[in-house]
Symmetry: D2
Subunit: 312 residues, 4 copies
Amino acid sequence: MELTAQAQGVYPIAPTPFLDDGHIDTDSIDRLVDFYRQIGATGLTVLGQLGEAPKLSHGESVDVARRMIRRAPGLPVIVGVSAPGFAAMRELTQEVMAAGAAGVMIAPPNTLRTDDQIVGYYRQAVDAIGADVPFVLQDYPLTFTVQMTPGVIRRIVQELPSCRMLKHEDWPGLEKITALRGFEREGSMRHIAILVGNNGLFLDYEMERGADGANTGYAFPDMLCDVVRLSQAGRREEAHDLFDAHLPLLRYEQQPGVGLAARKYLLMRRGLLASAAMRAPAPALSARARGEIEHLLQRLARHDPRAALAPL
Amino acid sequence: MELTAQAQGVYPIAPTPFLDDGHIDTDSIDRLVDFYRQIGATGLTVLGQLGEAPKLSHGESVDVARRMIRRAPGLPVIVGVSAPGFAAMRELTQEVMAAGAAGVMIAPPNTLRTDDQIVGYYRQAVDAIGADVPFVLQDYPLTFTVQMTPGVIRRIVQELPSCRMLKHEDWPGLEKITALRGFEREGSMRHIAILVGNNGLFLDYEMERGADGANTGYAFPDMLCDVVRLSQAGRREEAHDLFDAHLPLLRYEQQPGVGLAARKYLLMRRGLLASAAMRAPAPALSARARGEIEHLLQRLARHDPRAALAPL
Amino acid sequence: MELTAQAQGVYPIAPTPFLDDGHIDTDSIDRLVDFYRQIGATGLTVLGQLGEAPKLSHGESVDVARRMIRRAPGLPVIVGVSAPGFAAMRELTQEVMAAGAAGVMIAPPNTLRTDDQIVGYYRQAVDAIGADVPFVLQDYPLTFTVQMTPGVIRRIVQELPSCRMLKHEDWPGLEKITALRGFEREGSMRHIAILVGNNGLFLDYEMERGADGANTGYAFPDMLCDVVRLSQAGRREEAHDLFDAHLPLLRYEQQPGVGLAARKYLLMRRGLLASAAMRAPAPALSARARGEIEHLLQRLARHDPRAALAPL
Amino acid sequence: MELTAQAQGVYPIAPTPFLDDGHIDTDSIDRLVDFYRQIGATGLTVLGQLGEAPKLSHGESVDVARRMIRRAPGLPVIVGVSAPGFAAMRELTQEVMAAGAAGVMIAPPNTLRTDDQIVGYYRQAVDAIGADVPFVLQDYPLTFTVQMTPGVIRRIVQELPSCRMLKHEDWPGLEKITALRGFEREGSMRHIAILVGNNGLFLDYEMERGADGANTGYAFPDMLCDVVRLSQAGRREEAHDLFDAHLPLLRYEQQPGVGLAARKYLLMRRGLLASAAMRAPAPALSARARGEIEHLLQRLARHDPRAALAPL
């Protein structure tokens, strides 16, 4: 199963579940993957930035990816392979592709500045991993400080046929989607899948601008699936109503740094993770913050019964 | 009227109104200030980052500040005086203080890195403007890339008595408010006012963490006033209900770059600005984006009649 | 007298002389300008980054520029007009051009990232100051963190005829000069003057790569003039011998931050400045550092009699 | 053999030798290590930033470190273990310490900003690798954009006894050495070894400020050994004479990016490396640049016979 430029729907970014002692929690991996399948996810991304990938040893990374791939037959699994050098990127890519991954995701190192540096980096990455490996271009300037214009993305897409998907997390980014879809319409760029990240903070309008879905890790991926479906079905106001109900919590989870702690806490509260544990370096979730999340859940439950969780 | 550390409530960040030809629109200045008074604003900030301050000549800056100050008797007016050098900062400070400003706001230059550099910068700024001029410390790492820990803020507050207020725009920032209020409780830092910025994206919980109000430019400052009032009155769920109703639009306006264009458009739609014009460099607000804002307004109007504007 | 793309030779970057009490030292301005003329400088740049421009009030800036222009009839004087906004840039430009400046120098704000942002910034700057005002493009990534590829410089040069000179301070930068001269040879870019900065750390080889001279502030601009002359006369080894003799001191002066303090100390020791005073913020030159500079001078004096200064 | 805080002399930063086909060149490894021993190096650092460490797979990294360690009995070997996460850092540390390394070197990730973030990072790193593993603190703001004040270094040294050495590459950095040695004298910081990097650009005066030697990769480490020896013997002018003779070439090699290509070319010209090959991404050394290096060698040979190489 190979990632194609026709990808659609929701590819949740899977967290890496840990036990309280820091070991990898394979039961929770299975539970998560089963959940993603059940809610209608159309794919899956593992070992992303928020999958705590850099905190895993090489062997652990391969194990986690393999387990997710095996548990999700029929679902394309994308594996994050960003690394400080091409040797490590190639090594991990070869192992996960051999294990059945659908493709890999590559974030730009935060030292890139000029247009040519960015395009050159992806050219060299493809040289390293092989032109036959489908890859996802991650465009997340808020975290990586690398700014890709629509024109630079077009250069990468046109030069590198193995680029199949854009993980779109620019901020602001609505006009970028419009610009890229405009390139496609005018024939200056081939079609690629655009799945949005940034915790889906603008998923509502991004769908209307031409996004194909979401590729992000919000703790209610079932909501993301519903919003994408409603939006694609033209049920605009219903899509917005559902999205808006989640926005206060979604915004809370989208905070840099502490956001992943909130997400893991929520996934634990939903019974999907056995523990909310993170490996160091990890921001602590204060009692105060947990209280705020519980409050947000209670308020959300008035609109979405999936947020009505058993009290602690 | 001098800014004190007991400041509370909402100090809207006033935009600088321009006519379509780029000239300053004094009628809209008057209209804005009157509106702020009428909705219960407790102060006012002019020539902030989003007041397009760097796009004004020195003379224009002084004129705009003076006009706002004169139009708002009884309201403390804070003037942004951030500048690449202390000579210009001193010059502008002296002129606006002579005109009756309550204090000035100083943002850190984006080259500061270490704790000592940050503290040293504010020490030198106070040397330049005079220790008798009350100032607001602006902490906005997302835009300025300067990261101030709670400990650094405490050093500044303790060393420089003229520091009266924190414009808190760190992101994430909830724990920072808690830390600073903790310093006050334990007696290691004197009290200062904390008014939150960042378009109020977390105003709901920031109030509960100990903020004294908001110092930001959201196009519905009347909502900010209401939320602050409800929150201070202990009417928690009402505060959240009102805030959540605005969150989809507020989030839209909070986007970097294009956000100010959205804000000016909204203020024009509300009849407060004659024109949404910005001076260069200015991001354009596409027809598509304007349509999204209109859609957000319609949806908001179901919850807040103030958003029910006459169609274009 | 208008700056043209045929500029050559050495345009010293003039420091702004202060008295010990912080006032501007007009006598030293006159002495400096006379010295520059006498050693064969072909032009002059004032109010550059190392001219402490941001530490001057607007009025002082105009006064300093005017005095230098009047004292240097026949010498083209370039004035740094970099500013956080176009209103201030335009204002200063108009005043100094009216006073007889040959052109202005514009550094990019350190927030620019993409190629289009850089080109767009200079387009807007020219809109602001007027297409009839010759300008120098300053390319100094080490300080400004803005990276301009040769292709971006070509876009600016081709689109904006008023761009007459490149102040080349990229590091490393030898290949950039070769690339730009290659563009000229192949006909894809018109000729512009390239004068090198970065304290002349690579002046020796930059001349051989096609630079037209130097535009920097090393405290022995007479050496820079000699090296440029020797290099242009094909006396290669003599040029290197002289340059190498100065390199230990030149390197010392090129240190960021403390470098300007070293330079002002040296100019004071040479009798050109009455005082080495800087305005705040200013790094102190420790007794230890002064001792090192004296040691470097003594060693240099064995090769260049101009460094044989009377003991303190 | 364990790295101690009494380390002195020259620890060359070993490049990783590649064959033209990109494979690791073990013969050149042996030749290099033998050379370092023969010229009087007192230690050795492998897999540093300029050892192209990120371009090696994990297995290759361990192999290279092991080979160097075995070839250098009696010489303490430091291994760079900087990694994007602590899992990889721990893994590599354990393997190289088991193989006989004397300690490891850790650079800060370029996202650290505040003093507390920096200290916290090293605290967590020591947690990860074990408090019994001696480590070198690398302070190189020009490349890593992390600024450590003397006070921050003191906090790390005092809190973490396994910190034994500072690789000092701040720029400017002379005052920092003086400040740290001052801390030692006043008793507020225990003694650590300070070996300077930054290609030794200020080695001459850094020795006089209190440095214990050099930890850098200049292609003439024999010169570094001589200068350190002369300086420690109080033969000041001889030290400067030798250093100054090398400065034109040393400066050329110190250029970011292209510098390593120049260094490998020089080591190949000296017969130490079989090839100057680098792995991608690698800046090309143009014919023009090679000509400049040859010219610098010829000029240097007039002062130092070690630069008199057989023509190509």
